[in-house]
Assembly symmetry: C2
Homo-oligomer: 472 residues x 2
């Protein structure tokens, strides 16, 4: 196996690779908006054809209750370990549309960046692995390890729900020695980072019901509890003045870390100033006694992601609205579980909801936190690959976000996941004007090539079977 030949190929074909990525980004594969269901399917179909065209085998578009999963494999590396490569081809909604400087689904290169929804999260990062595989197969006619690529279409809906059922159902077929996911951030263009921990989450809607129909606020203002106000009261009450969540029992299962781990985090992680600069806010907020890096990784957090109620157009309409709705998410950490947190939340809302309004709590999705030992060989192999690809040793980082697949691979398949992110803090993930730093795309491809090479030296896990593709 000659990684250098693959690298040379990748460099020669970089412009074509960008054109391919643009085609991929052009699909508005917004998984949580029903109007885009067809676009999601078309995107899956395009991806499957593409995987076939680069020489992967056993390509399948697998139906689920939700959006399809695209599978492709290559398993002719006798006696070598197997790598599970995960990514998601679905994207976040582009709203608010008026804030995009170029249309979200008309990808365009400006300077060093490719702009478009999904360019970075996760199409661009997923594509780096695809192009690494292509570069190997075109130059060596083989890969140094066995691979199982599994690209899902429901990551951005929150819980990768269909994916979880799928992994459970096919746990034997998906067996591998390690998984790799590129869906996290580096610290900067020259500062690669390997994720070894991520938060889980619980996502839900909270709806408050007042009068059966909108009321004139002149005629009734002062006599009826306003559902927007009641919702604000409940939300305001979810944190105390110190930024701590007030739900009783909320912190009971939160693991406390010893001085060594916190010292390691202080040494390797971003500083408060760096996090504030990335967030572009003048001042921090949250639990005192924790650095900002700690607050977003080893501490849970409750966030209001959206709110609506009453009249929202131009001017004003003097109503007491019939209802108000908020969308919230709680990021959880070991050893909290989605189910326990939801139950605590439910009990809390029942206790604090005022009797003057109706309140409904709807669970949307949930995922477990995940954690990998920093000394695991799979992470060491990844560190080596990064050093070759980016010319810099990666730091080991915790992530504040949630990649549900990583916790599923840990829980269901019993394998570690390498979180090998190529995103930059300024890539505007989930926000208008999302972009992908193209030098990171190219270095990502080379890093993936080196990682495939390095993984061939991983010890095979016991009981691993060389299944040819998936039973469907």
């Amino acid at each position: 196996m000659k990684p250098l030949r693959a690298i040379a190929y990748a460099r020669r074909h970089s412009r074509r690779f960008v054109e391919g990525l643009k085609e991929f980004v052009r699909f508005p594969s917004v998984s949580n908006q029903p109007k885009h269901a067809r676009d999601v399917r078309r995107c899956a179909s395009w991806l499957a054809h593409h995987l076939q065209s680069i020489g992967l085998e056993n390509v399948r578009i697998l139906r689920t209750k939700g959006h399809p999963i695209v599978y492709a494999g290559w398993q002719h590396a006798r006696g070598k370990p197997t790598l599970l490569i995960y990514g998601h081809y679905d994207v976040q909604p582009p709203e608010p549309l008026e804030e995009w400087k170029t249309p979200p689904f008309e990808p365009v290169v400006k300077g060093n960046n490719l702009h478009g929804r999904g360019a970075c999260d996760d199409k661009g990062q997923l594509f780096a692995h695809v192009k690494a595989i292509e570069s190997y197969l075109r130059t060596n006619k083989a890969l140094p390890v066995n691979v199982k690529c599994i690209f899902e279409g429901e990551e951005e809906t929150g819980g990768s729900e269909s994916f979880e059922a799928f992994v459970k159902q096919h746990r034997r077929a998906l067996q591998a020695d390690a998984a790799v996911i590129s869906d996290t951030r580096m610290l900067g263009p020259d500062r690669p980072a390997l994720g070894y921990a991520q938060r889980g989450d619980v996502r839900f809607e909270l709806e408050v019901f007042g009068p059966r129909r909108d009321l004139h606020s002149g005629n009734f203002g002062g006599s009826v509890h306003n559902p927007i106000q009641a919702l604000c009261e409940i939300i305001a009450g979810l944190h105390d003045a110190d930024g701590r969540v007030t739900i009783p029992g909320f912190y009971d299962k939160v693991r406390e870390w010893d001085a060594d781990e916190r010292e390691y985090m202080r040494r390797t992680g971003p500083t408060d100033a760096e996090i504030l600069r990335d967030a572009n806010v003048p001042s921090s907020w949250g639990e005192r006694d924790y650095t900002l890096y700690e607050r977003v990784t080893i501490r849970p957090a409750l966030t209001v992601n959206g709110i609506k109620g009453g009249y929202q157009g131009a001017g004003i309409k003097t109503v007491i609205p019939a209802r108000a709705l908020a969308k919230l998410s709680i990021r959880i950490v070991p050893d909290q579980t989605p189910h326990e947190i939801l139950e605590l939340l439910r009990g809390h809302i029942e206790r604090v909801a005022p009797p003057t309004v109706g309140v409904k709590l709807r669970m949307l999705a949930g995922s477990y936190p995940a954690l990998v030992n920093r000394n695991h060989p799979a992470l060491k192999a990844a560190a080596l690959a990064y050093e070759k690809g980016f010319g810099a040793r990666p730091v080991f980082l915790r992530s504040g976000g949630s990649v549900p697949a990583a916790s599923m691979f840990q829980k269901i398949l019993g394998i570690p996941t390498v979180l090998m992110g190529f995103a930059l803090p300024e890539d505007r993930i989930h926000a208008p004007n999302e972009r992908f730093h193209l030098p990171n795309f190219f270095r990502g491809i080379e890093t993936s090539i080196w990682y495939l090479a390095a993984s061939s030296r991983l010890k095979k896990s016991r009981g691993q079977q060389m299944q040819q593709g998936l039973p469907t």
Copy 2:
């Protein structure tokens, strides 16, 4: 003058009158949505032609900085008093559209009701006076009093701002002995009510700014103050647990009423049970020590009319949004003034706004509360007219809403306003499926006919000049 001939005419032509009202309602004259500016102008033009066609004189469409004002007069009743008839041809926005059972601007009669946005507020009520005038002019070729009809197009934007400038500019031309406005509610189909007091208001937007762009709530949740949360905290803090507004000094200028007035209110006004039934809510809310009728009339109230922030579509999008916005209004009572309340509010917001976010307060509109002595001859004439028109003595009621014109007539012209409402509590003013009870339309026309007759016996106010229309 023969009111009975006019009454007979009105009864003969009732079906045609309803058809005319339907034409009027068909215009989507939504004054606070810029996209409907042309519809507002077309509606004004239709109304002017209609007033001309029934025999009113000096018909004008008067430009303002905002929407036009329609004027028409008839001033040949020598030596008789002059009545200023006010109404507004603009309507509230129809949103939320999905809750309408029939399209808001395709008026349709179902049973005893005409359904459509503006059917009741205020096109239908305004039209009752127009049809009364028509009935008189067609049968008597004259009116028993001089009239100046003035119909504006910015009442629903909040402050009738252009109208206020207009009244100030033309204070001499608009001089009259009393004004009548039909834009308030009765207690029930057989329970007419004359308004003698109304609340004023202050309408504003409160916007909270957080990060400069939406952030991923996984990466930053727990370290950055969420603008939705900060907005909820500010809003929740505007009331204490007893439903009282917490703005310091807020109640200082609120007039306390003596036991006699409160006893009168208890005898004549709606009971708590009636108000709850009208609101269609199971339980009340607000300042203890006050009946619900008192809470919505002699007590000020702060209401959140709308809120928005972050992601509002299907599913969830895990962002910390860049901003959140609420629309609020404060109903004020004598002797509060819009300006003083706004200043108290501004000071309060500055004090409570957390340093972790930016906060902006934008005034949208304001109006003064208004009050008329219940024993004023203009109200007695109106009571007599109601008794003839509805076969029942009206009660004298306070209104919780604001008709800015009434306070302007009091403040600028120095004349009392009769609030002669024909709306029913169940007419769904400002809400989806607004409707007008047609028996009230017909009785309203007859009441207006009797009121024109009774007003001819009012004493003319000193200094009143028989101006022929308006200088433009």
